[in-house]
Amino acid sequence: MRFSQNFLREFVEINIPPAELARRLTLAGIEVVSLKPWGGDWIFEAEVTANRPDLLSIWGLSYEVRAILGGKIKFNTYPPLSSQGSLPIYIEEKKLVPFYAGRLMEGVKVERSPLWLRQRLASVGIEEINNIVDITNYCLFKWGAPLHAFDAAKIKGAVHVRRAKEGEKLLCLDGKERTLSSADLVIADEGRVLAIAGIIGGKDSEINPQTKKVFLEAAVFDPLSIRRTSRRLGLNTEASYRFERQVLPFNTAQASQEAVELILRQGGGRLVGTRKLGREEGKKGKRVTLSLARLNRYLDTRLKLPQVATILKRLGCEVRLQKEDNLLVNLPRHRKDLTAEVDLFEEVARIYGYKNIPIRLSFVNNSARVSAALEFKRRLKRISVQAGFREIVSFSLIPEEEAKKLSGYAYVKLINPLRSGENVLRPQLWGGILQAFRYNLNQSQSDLDFFEIANVYLCEGKRVQEETHYVVASVGEGEKDLLRFKGRVLTILSALGIERVEFLPQSESKFLSAALVKSQELSLGIMGVIKVGAKKNKKAKGFIFETSLGVLYKAARPPQFRPFSYLPGIKRDISLALKPGYHFSQIEPKLREVGGEMLTKIVVIDFYKGSNLPPGYRGVTLRFYYQLPQRTLTAAEVDTLHQRIRQILAESSDIILR
């Protein structure tokens, strides 16, 4: 809401400098976001919250300024309107039009507005048009009630307030033609639409230099109806803005009377008819009882009754002392936002000043308990960092094409996405990491090791579900990089107490290679290799492990000490090459069976490639660790066992020993 100090000062005493007024208004809840000198005046730009339509008028602002500064208000008000003469107006949607006043003037002269009026409008940022329109705009700002003036010569027969016919068109004041729907409320004559009610007038019936007869509409329209039409048309006007937030019949009738008075004074002519449908509300609004004890307890203040009564009176309330410490408060009609005692607590608090309320700090009582699952999430983040991964945050909304590519997942779609690039809730996390990889590779970054913990959204039939996932991933090229990644994942799992992890080869169309990761019959998730698809690095692959946080939480065990052996172990290496497509998991169980408890671990220590290998074969050196907890092994018994293991490898037609 834009207003000027001089405009306001006409109606309420202001005895402090503009900058101080701006500060006081801000601290009372009307945030002044800009204050600029303008001629001999000052222009305030204030943000008015959605609950205070009364502040969209000089009239409402005056009450507020009086409450803050304690000066006097000088407003002349008119008595209630009454119908005179015959003016045919038909309201077809009575529920959507609780108040309507039409007034007809003849012999009016349309010309430029006098200086004072032009200045008032300029100060609130409204363009001057002609005396008639300018007067309606002046009254809009003063009373917060939008008016509309029609050239009555263009109205054929009676005025109808009705719903538009589907597809009906109107050339609007802004020169644009709009197509209406049957939900829109319009002002029409016997034949056609003249204006979109409460939003914008029609070009044809606008006031022009030749206009002699003026039909002045002052009405209250249903906020919801105006809001829907305004949103559908994408058209927000000074009028619709106010109607959406609620305009009161009292202000509307006042604005209508002042406008007629000004028009007759400025443009001559005479009033030939008035038709009022609906009633202005009485001066007294709802009654609420305020307990001083409850107020002081709620705010932790030590306010006295007279202080509270003064604040409420200045805001326009009528206050009567009831028994003991209770005040019976008659709420002012223009404050529809006030309905309960607690609303008055806020009124008192903000005028008294939030800064004057004391400060208290103590430990809170709580029946809520710490969530173990959330603590687990924190722990997993730290373990991932320890394993060298960086946490990222990627968007939960992805393009539908990407979701489609991940066959096998049903996904959840939005009906009102911002862009088609973000219209589906992601069914998995790794797409986000892949995008971060691509972005970083194209930005010439290397050594990319990321993780993310966030929700995924799934659809089973029509039922929507979300669960928290964990994804950890690295960029690399060859098998060596993959196995290093696998080692880091195993480190993370072991830090969570998850041991005996198996990798079962899995064919997944979206991955170059993939494995189902299991631990003791529990499926943890999928590890996969996928092309990153970065322009700057065509060879780069993403190694990804994604799992549900819930599953990890279920599988995790707290750290537990296990006695370890001080006896030296013995290690033996074997170099071998695997046929393309052959998985080590096809032979590992046999090795383990033969190795028994003596074979404690197998690790990869080297990779090799060479012309001496058949095409496609992958050369690798494995190190076998032998140890028993209870005694030192002899070289001879290890040699015997190791020889049997070599033998098993040698017998496989898919393995070449070196």
Binding site: A349, R360, R378
Partner: protein, 344 residues
């Protein structure tokens, strides 16, 4: 014999000085080994007259020690020459490490401040329904007060376990407040961090997805003064002990009285700069006393219980705290951005 010893010594000096690393071992054998000339001379000591024995003996030993020392020094010198030296002034080799996202760092720091006062962290779903996101929070379904909560809706016909109204992506973390208050009895003091969604076009200060932290407490005698207390404590812990707070009356449908909270600008200390747009204050959060209608909607008797609630944007706090000027940096995940937060 004395002459012979001096000759050996002279020869050793010459050969050791000229030796390479590979030759050192054989020189060791040649001059100090069991079959070396010095060893032979030692064996011949007993042929000498008794008066000469101690003198020559000492000479042999001294010569041995000299040769030994020379060999050692030469070996050290050669090792240095071959690069077995340590230069601490050379540039370092890069060492990879992991890091937490700055939004996690800030969220956890905020959580820590409130945990120390007895708050407990909870999380809620991101897919919510109209009842929890709006109605229970005293937000009418079609009203201008909804404008600040513009919302993404899910396709029609979908449902969750228990759905009241259309499904949507929560536009704030407050629905979790409703769920906690409906499930647990007061007293309560809960903090809810999480992702929220609003159809805002992305620019340097807006994103359609961002993070909020919501906090609320309900007890028999919580007052506006308690709300001020926890928030002043929060701001001074998170920023500096000198941080000033300004509580400005505002409007949220779910609190009454409501306030917006500004902190004194941490950049210019309130003098006025570009970050605070010259007025010395930075808006950081919204808060208020929980509206009695919200308590009632959760089955809590508002005559017996009172509460306060507050909410803040994690990105906003992180941007102020770290001096980040573009919200998009949080979601691009550029490594050069992420690695700046190794230290935390």
């Amino acid at each position: 014999m004395e002459e012979e010893i001096l000759k050996i010594k002279k020869e050793a000096v010459q050969q050791i000085t000229a030796a390479t690393a590979a030759e050192l071992e054989s020189l060791h054998i040649k001059f100090l080994g069991r079959k070396s000339l010095l060893a032979q001379l030692t064996a011949r000591l007993r042929e000498l007259p008794p008066a000469q024995k101690p003198l020559i003996g000492r000479l042999i030993n001294e010569t041995k020690r000299t040769i030994e020392q020379m060999l050692e020094e030469k070996s050290g010198a050669l090792a240095k020459a071959e690069g077995e030296e340590f230069d601490l002034t050379l540039p370092a080799l890069p060492q990879a490490c992991g890091s937490l996202h700055p939004l996690t760092l800030v969220a956890e720091e905020i959580e820590e401040v409130f945990k120390n006062l007895g708050f407990v962290v909870a999380e809620g779903d991101e897919i919510e329904d109209e009842d929890h996101n709006f109605s229970a929070l005293n937000i009418p379904l079609e009203h201008p007060s909804r404008d600040m909560f513009d919302t993404f809706y899910l396709e029609e016909g979908l449902h969750k376990k228990e759905t009241q109204g259309r499904l949507l992506l929560r536009s704030h973390t407050s629905p979790a407040q409703i769920r906690v208050m409906r499930n647990l009895r007061p007293p309560l003091a809960v903090l809810v961090p999480g992702r929220v969604y609003r159809p805002d076009a992305v620019d340097a200060t807006h994103s359609f997805m961002f993070h909020q932290i919501e906090g609320f407490a309900v007890d028999r005698d919580l007052r506006f003064s308690d709300l001020k207390g926890v928030l002043i404590n929060f701001a001074r812990k998170l920023f500096t002990a000198e941080t000033q707070l300004r509580f400005r009356p505002s409007f949220f449908p779910f609190t009454e009285p409501s306030a917006e909270v500004d902190i004194s600008c941490i950049i210019c200390k309130g003098k006025g700069c570009t970050v605070c747009k010259g007025n010395g204050w930075l808006e950081v959060l919204g808060c208020g006393m929980i509206h009695p209608r919200v308590l009632q909607a959760c089955g809590i008797d508002s005559k017996k219980w009172q509460g306060y609630a507050f909410g803040m944007g994690v990105e906003r706090i992180a941007m102020l705290k770290f001096g980040i000027d573009d919200i998009r940096l949080f979601y691009n995940n550029h490594k050069k951005f992420l690695e700046q937060f190794n230290a935390f």
